[in-house]
Every structure is written in structure tokens, then in C-alpha cells.
């Protein structure tokens, strides 16, 4: 018995040493690397977004969301955010968490932007003349001027200056009945008579297609890099590389649009559009490009980098509804204050609980306090090694569970005192105390488990509230760990004591007037 207890004691010591070792320094075991405790967004600062995906008839959401996650991941990777979380929630939502990235507006742009790159040219009528918005606005137009191209027409402000240049004006499409219809960027009908008149002079853009009808879009890109070029290598632009299919189509289009003269003409323009806005409308001055091209515009270098990143990661296969369903941002300084306060709160709590336990239960209280320290290191070590993201709620859970962890000890010690007073020897009282308190300890932990599971569900649904899930997870772990530390560890320590001389001093066990 005593020998077995000794072995258990040694095992406990080893585990305790391991937890200290795991906590004090980065853990590297083969490919298993844990640098530090992983802290939640509310502690390191960062951005948390939840988006609803726009449902549309012709796209099955399930598969495209998965591809959208990859696209978003690629875009974020370019910013070097450590451990971003990009997940699907339910069937039609996307959650993005960016620890340490606190510019919420930039984050939203990064995630929301569709990044759909396409190339369009100006529509020509049957006689080969260019088509403008005013042609469609004039009376008695019932069909497209180019009757073979059935895709929607895009009107952008290609006459505008500065900020206004290239901005979206309207779509023109055929509805089911075959009637022409102007719509805004979200597909809602536009009153063509009044609001569009002022843009009468802008061109009607149709998709540029290869000989087989494939439109030239960003899907056919293989790479995009920001670069300095143009005007003596001082203007930022984006070099693009086409994949095999893209190279062929691009050259077919170039041959068709080729401008042999130096006179600028809309007849020979290939418009570059990103998310339905015109970036630039260069002339085609070569008949073949052999797979590469340049997108220039009036970019700053960061803008060129952003565009290249967007093009490289590809277009989002789904539309995200703006604004996000849920958005949250915590600044890094606020997070730091929370960490600081958490340590203080945890330290004060554990010291006071220990002081109370020792004052009230004397020697067993001291053992329980040692077990409580072990409880703290073991819980934190598990959090680090798992790893579990510690949010403020999670830390709250750990601190509160220190109060709950000693509950098992309180139950046991009270029982022990009773048994001792009833005339048992110390050793027998200890064993009986542990044995008879067990059902109450178990029952109360089961209720904790139930609460944790339900809280975890609540926190995961809808907005993924890190405080609630964090609390649920740490409380759950805490409850399991406490069953081990408060029962096994305390019992082992007390059994060690029964053999020593201390056991004869009954005041150490806060039992006065013991009969034995």
C-alpha cells in the first residue's frame, strides 16, 4: 500500500515537473512545436468577421464556399498574419479571425473583394460601328446591337476623370421575357430615363472571347507580380502571366483588336475590369503577347501589390453580403491590458484560496493548496500543448474553476473530520473521507460537464463567440483536471503524511477534541 502510494507520488512529481517544463519554454519535439500559450483575439487584438454568402440560383454554395475559403486564405497569407482562422460556419457563412491584424477596414476589403478580373471590348453593331449607352437609351431599341453576344453589357464611366474614372454605371441584360433591362451592381432594376442620361457617351462593353467563345478572365491567369514599369520604370504596374489556355485566347483577341496605327481608337481597346470597374483601357499594339501582359493604371505601389495579391489568389467564387453579419475588432493595447489584469486576478485568486484552505483545514489544506498549484500548471500546460486558444472568457473559466476545484477537497476534508471525530484513526478517516465523498464529487462534475457542452454549442453557433466557447472549454478541462488533482494528488500527499510523525498532531488536521 505505502509502496504503491510512493510510486504514484513519484509519477505525480514527474508530471508536475513536465508541466513546469512545458510552460516555461517553447516546446519542440520533432515536428511538434508549441511556442507559447495561444491567446485569443480579445487578448492579442485582431479582427473577427462573419459573412453571409449571397445565394444565387446557378451556383451551388457548398462547393464554392470551400473554394472561397482557400481564396481568402491565400489573400491573407500574403499579409503574414500568424494563425488566421478561416472557416465555414453552417452551410452559407464564412468566419474569418485575424489575430494581431487590427485594421478592420483593410481586413474587410481583403476578404470581401470579389477580385473578378475580366477583359472586355467595345460592342460593335451589325455595320461595325461602336455602340454607346445613348444608343440603348434611344427609343425603340428592343434587342442587343450585336446579336451574337448575349452576355450582359457593362457600362462604366470611361470618360470620367480621377476618382470617377472607370466607375460602374449600369448593367444591361435580357430578362426571361427577352426584354432589355438596366440593373445596378446588385441586380436591382434602374430607371434608365433619368439617372443614366448623363452617361450617354460611355461605351457598351462586352466580354472579349477567344475563337472558341471562352471569355478572357482572371481564371486563366497563372501569376501576377507588382513591378515598376512604364514611364522610365517609375510607374507601378502589375505584370501578369497567362496559363496555356489563356495565352492562346489572349493572342486570338490581340490579333483581332490589333491597332496598326498610333491613333487611339476605341475600336482597338481591350478594357481591363476588376469587379465591374474599369482599371484601364489600353490599345492593343501587338498581334501576339506569348502569355504575358501588363496591367497599368494610376497605381501607387501598395495598390499594385494589393491588385497582384488579389489576382494571384483568384476571384472569390461566391459573393459575400456586406456589411458582415458580425464584426469585431480589439486593439492590441486593450488586449495587453487584459492579459496583465488576468495574471493579477489569477494570482490573487489562487493565493487567497490557498490562504483560506490552509487557515481552515491546516495540514490537509496545505496539501490541497499544493494540489491546486499542480492543477493550475497542468491546466495551463494542457491549454498550451493542445493548443487551446485562451480568450478572456477562457481565463475567467480557469480562475473560477480554481474555486470549484477545491470543492472536491472541501467535501473530502469535511468528511474526513467527521470520520475522525467518529473515532477512526487518521489513516482510516482519510480513506473513508475520500471514499464517501466520491458520489457527490462525481454528481457535481457531471452537471458541470453538461453545462460546458451546451455552452460550447451556444458559443459556436451564430457568431462564434470566443469568450463563451473559451469559458466552456477551459471549465471542462478544469473539471477533469480537478478530479485528478483534488482527489488523486491530495490523497497521495495525505497518505504520505500518515506514516510520518505529523500525523499524531491532531491540531494540524484542525480536529480538536479528537477521541483518538
Amino acid at each position: 500500500m505505502a509502496r504503491r502510494n510512493g510510486i504514484v507520488f513519484i509519477i505525480i512529481l514527474v508530471v508536475f515537473a513536465l508541466t513546469i517544463w512545458a510552460l516555461l519554454q517553447p516546446v519542440h519535439i520533432g515536428g511538434f512545436v508549441r511556442e507559447d500559450l495561444r491567446l485569443g483575439l480579445d487578448l492579442v487584438g485582431g479582427v473577427h468577421l462573419v459573412y453571409q454568402v449571397q445565394a444565387s440560383e446557378n451556383v451551388t454554395i457548398g462547393d464554392s464556399i470551400d473554394r472561397a475559403l482557400i481564396t481568402i486564405q491565400k489573400r491573407i497569407d500574403a499579409f503574414g498574419v500568424t494563425e488566421p482562422i478561416i472557416q465555414k460556419m453552417g452551410n452559407d457563412r464564412i468566419m474569418v479571425q485575424l489575430p494581431g491584424f487590427t485594421d478592420i477596414d483593410a481586413a474587410k476589403k481583403l476578404v470581401e473583394q470579389v477580385g473578378f478580373l475580366e477583359f472586355r471590348e467595345v460592342e460593335k453593331n451589325a455595320a461595325g460601328g461602336l455602340v454607346y449607352l445613348k444608343d440603348y437609351l434611344s427609343a425603340n431599341v428592343t434587342g442587343f446591337f450585336n446579336q451574337t453576344e448575349m452576355a450582359n453589357r457593362l457600362f462604366v464611366n470611361n470618360l470620367g476623370e480621377g476618382e470617377e474614372y472607370g466607375k460602374f454605371v449600369a448593367f444591361l441584360s435580357k430578362d426571361q421575357t427577352g426584354a432589355l433591362k438596366f440593373t445596378d451592381i446588385n441586380g436591382n432594376a434602374v430607371d434608365n430615363a433619368t439617372s443614366l442620361q448623363q452617361y450617354g457617351g460611355v461605351a457598351s462593353w462586352v466580354p472579349s472571347r477567344g475563337s472558341d467563345g471562352t471569355p478572357l478572365t482572371g481564371d486563366l491567369l497563372s501569376d501576377a507580380q507588382p513591378n515598376l514599369g512604364g514611364n522610365l520604370n517609375t510607374e507601378p504596374e502589375v505584370d501578369i502571366k497567362w496559363n496555356d489556355k489563356g495565352s492562346v485566347i489572349f493572342d486570338q483577341i490581340a490579333a483581332r483588336l490589333y491597332n496598326p496605327t498610333d491613333v487611339y481608337s476605341l475600336d482597338h481597346v481591350l478594357g481591363i475590369f476588376l469587379d465591374n470597374a474599369l482599371i484601364s483601357a489600353p490599345q492593343i499594339r501587338a498581334q501576339a503577347f506569348f502569355g504575358s501582359g501588363v496591367i497599368s493604371g494610376s497605381f501607387t505601389m501598395p495598390e499594385a501589390e494589393e491588385l497582384a495579391n488579389l489576382l494571384k489568389s483568384g476571384a472569390l467564387p461566391v459573393q459575400l453580403i456586406k456589411p458582415p453579419l458580425f464584426q469585431e475588432k480589439v486593439s492590441a493595447t486593450l488586449g495587453e491590458e487584459f492579459i496583465d489584469m488576468s495574471w493579477k486576478a489569477g494570482l490573487v485568486a489562487i493565493l487567497l484560496v490557498m490562504a483560506f484552505m490552509i487557515a481552515y483545514y491546516r495540514l490537509p489544506g496545505l496539501m490541497a493548496s499544493l494540489a491546486l498549484v499542480f492543477y493550475g500548471t497542468l491546466t495551463l500546460a494542457i491549454c498550451k500543448l493542445w493548443p487551446i486558444t485562451l480568450s478572456l472568457g477562457g481565463i475567467g473559466g480557469i480562475i473560477v474553476s480554481m474555486g470549484i476545484a477545491v470543492d472536491a477537497n472541501v467535501l473530502i476534508f469535511e468528511r474526513m473530520k467527521e470520520e475522525f471525530r467518529a473515532g477512526r484513526t487518521l489513516g482510516a478517516a482519510i480513506e473513508a473521507g475520500f471514499h464517501r465523498a466520491w458520489t457527490a464529487i462525481w454528481d457535481s462534475n457531471v452537471t458541470t460537464f453538461i453545462a460546458c457542452v451546451i455552452l460550447f454549442w451556444l458559443g459556436s453557433a451564430a457568431m462564434r463567440n470566443a469568450a463563451v466557447t473559451g469559458f466552456a472549454v477551459t471549465l471542462f478541462i478544469g473539471a477533469i483536471v480537478s478530479m485528478f488533482t483534488a482527489v488523486t494528488v491530495t490523497r497521495t500527499l495525505l497518505r504520505m503524511l500518515t506514516g510520518s510523525g505529523l500525523a499524531r498532531k491532531s491540531w494540524l488536521f484542525s480536529v480538536t477534541g479528537g477521541k483518538k
Partner: protein, 305 residues
């Protein structure tokens, strides 16, 4: 020996008063839902130096948010709660405040759409109901071998509702004074109370179960009283250790988990009182069929008997 059970009707009276206060407070003040349940935006700006509160309030109103609810936290942090704030509206508000009060930093910003708010509110309700039903089922099962398991289960339920009602009621009363809101951490606190309160009740009932099995006395009142006394120090001590951790949290952290700590604090006290003094009393009342004593007009006849 201390006679706790004999004073059971005094404890019922205290509970009754607390419940009446809770119900009145809930029906008059209600609970103010946070943006997590009612949608909207919460913006925390940090100024370099503190400014006059009413002046700040006026500035926010002038910038087009007359209905905004403003709270000052810490040294110079201001919480501004508005309807759902768009990107431009937020930028405008911040620019306006900067122009008036100098450099500010955006410490925290969160925004919840009506759709998510609705779902969250619904989920919270489901969570509380499932948690309560789940735990009660477990407890009834754990006490299944006792005579009248239904009776034990019912007293668990009554004790639990009592705790939740009193906690929520007092939270609404203090919330009115201090401007507390009901948020997700509040719900977490409520579920925490469900757990802690049941734990306390379990310990007392567990002892009653044991003492009855040991045949301590034929009189259930004696069994109950003895069990109460035997578990008294455990209940107080455990509550005290949890209380210590809660006070530490409240003193140092506050912030987003403040609601949770406050709910637990109130619930812990109410729950301890109720499982030590009220719940066993109810079992005794049931055992002796004393229900008549709750009706004042029958009190005299009972006294005669």
C-alpha cells in the same frame, strides 16, 4: 443541536420576498439586451485625456447619433452604442470626435446584424432550457433509487428556478442602476449558476439520501436537519472559495466578462442560501404534507393540531 429545519418557514419567507422583488424588478425594469441580442454597433474609443462626459455625449449626438448610449470606462475610454454602424458612418463619427477632442484610438469595435442577433437570442434560450432539463434529468436519475425520486427531482427544479429568478431579478434591479446589459456572458453566467446551484443542492440531498439509508431517524425532519448541519461548512466553504475567485476577477478584469462575474456572484449567494436552507425544507414540507401552512388562513388550524 442547531435547529435549521424548524425555521424553514422563515427561510421560505425570505425566499418569497426575494422572488417578489425579482418579479417586480423584472416586470418594471426588464433586462436591457446587449447588441449581441438586439443588433447594433459598439465602439470603444480611447482619448488621450478624459473629457467631460456630458460634453462627449453632446458631441456624439451632434454627429448624428442622438440615440447613442454612452458609457465611460477606465481612464478615458468611451463606449458608444449605436444602431448598426456602416464603414462610412463609423469613419465620420471618429473623424468628428477627433476634430473635437483630439487624437483618439479605436480600442474596440463590434457590430452585430439583426439576423445574427435574432439567432443568438434564440440559441441562448434553447441553451438555458436544454441545460436545465439535462441536468435535472441527470439528478433525477442519480437519485432514482430513493423513494419518491420525483419528489427529489421536483425540489431540485424548484430550487433551480428560485436561483435563476432571484439572480436575473436582482441583475435587472442593479442593471437599472449601473447600466448593465444582458449579453452572451450573462447567459454563460446563468448556466454557471445552474451548475453551482445544483452542486450545492446535490451535496445536501446526497447527505439526506445517505442519512435516510442509514436510518438516522424515522422522522424525516430530523434526517434533514442533521444533513443540513453536516454539510453546512462544506457549502459555505466552497461558496467562499468560488466567491474569492469571483471577487478577484471583478477587481482586476471587469470589462467584457463583468456581467458573467456579477451573475455568478449574485447566483452563488442566492444558490447557497437556497440549497442549504430552502430546498431541504421543501422536502420536509412535502414529506409532512404541510402545504396548508403556506396559506395564511389555514395557519391557525394547523397550529391547533
Amino acid at each position: 443541536m442547531l435547529d435549521i429545519i424548524g425555521k424553514r418557514f422563515w427561510f421560505f419567507l425570505i425566499s418569497g420576498v426575494l422572488i417578489v422583488i425579482a418579479v417586480i424588478s423584472l416586470s418594471t425594469f426588464g433586462l436591457k439586451p446587449s447588441i449581441e441580442f438586439s443588433s447594433g454597433s459598439l465602439l470603444t474609443v480611447r482619448l488621450e485625456t478624459a473629457v467631460d462626459f456630458t460634453e462627449f455625449q453632446q458631441a456624439v449626438a451632434d454627429l448624428g447619433h442622438p440615440d447613442a448610449i454612452i458609457q465611460k470606462v477606465g481612464d478615458a475610454d468611451y463606449l458608444i452604442r449605436t444602431e448598426e454602424l456602416g464603414e462610412d458612418a463609423k469613419a465620420q463619427l471618429e473623424a468628428g470626435l477627433t476634430a473635437r477632442f483630439g487624437t483618439l484610438s479605436e480600442a474596440q469595435f463590434s457590430s452585430v446584424s439583426p439576423m445574427v442577433a435574432q439567432e443568438t437570442a434564440r440559441n441562448a434560450l434553447i441553451a438555458v432550457v436544454i441545460a436545465m432539463v439535462g441536468m435535472l434529468l441527470y439528478v433525477t436519475w442519480a437519485f432514482r433509487k430513493m423513494p419518491n425520486p420525483f419528489r427529489w427531482g421536483s425540489c431540485f427544479t424548484i430550487a433551480l428556478f428560485h436561483d435563476i429568478l432571484v439572480t436575473v431579478g436582482l441583475f435587472s434591479l442593479f442593471g437599472r442602476i449601473f447600466g448593465w446589459e444582458m449579453n452572451l456572458m450573462f447567459i454563460t453566467g446563468i448556466l454557471g449558476i445552474v451548475g453551482v446551484s445544483l452542486d450545492n443542492t446535490i451535496v445536501v440531498f446526497d447527505r439526506m439520501r445517505e442519512n435516510q439509508r442509514l436510518g438516522v431517524s424515522a422522522d424525516f425532519e430530523v434526517v434533514a436537519n442533521r444533513s443540513q448541519i453536516e454539510t453546512l461548512s462544506r457549502s459555505f466553504n466552497t461558496s467562499l472559495t468560488i466567491l474569492i475567485t469571483l471577487v478577484a476577477l471583478l477587481l482586476f478584469i471587469g470589462g467584457t466578462i463583468q456581467n458573467f462575474v456579477i451573475v455568478l456572484l449574485i447566483g452563488l449567494i442566492a444558490g447557497t442560501f437556497d440549497s442549504v436552507f430552502v430546498a431541504p425544507g421543501l422536502l420536509v414540507v412535502w414529506d409532512k404534507n404541510e402545504w396548508g401552512r403556506f396559506l395564511p388562513w389555514r395557519k391557525s388550524s394547523r397550529a391547533k393540531a
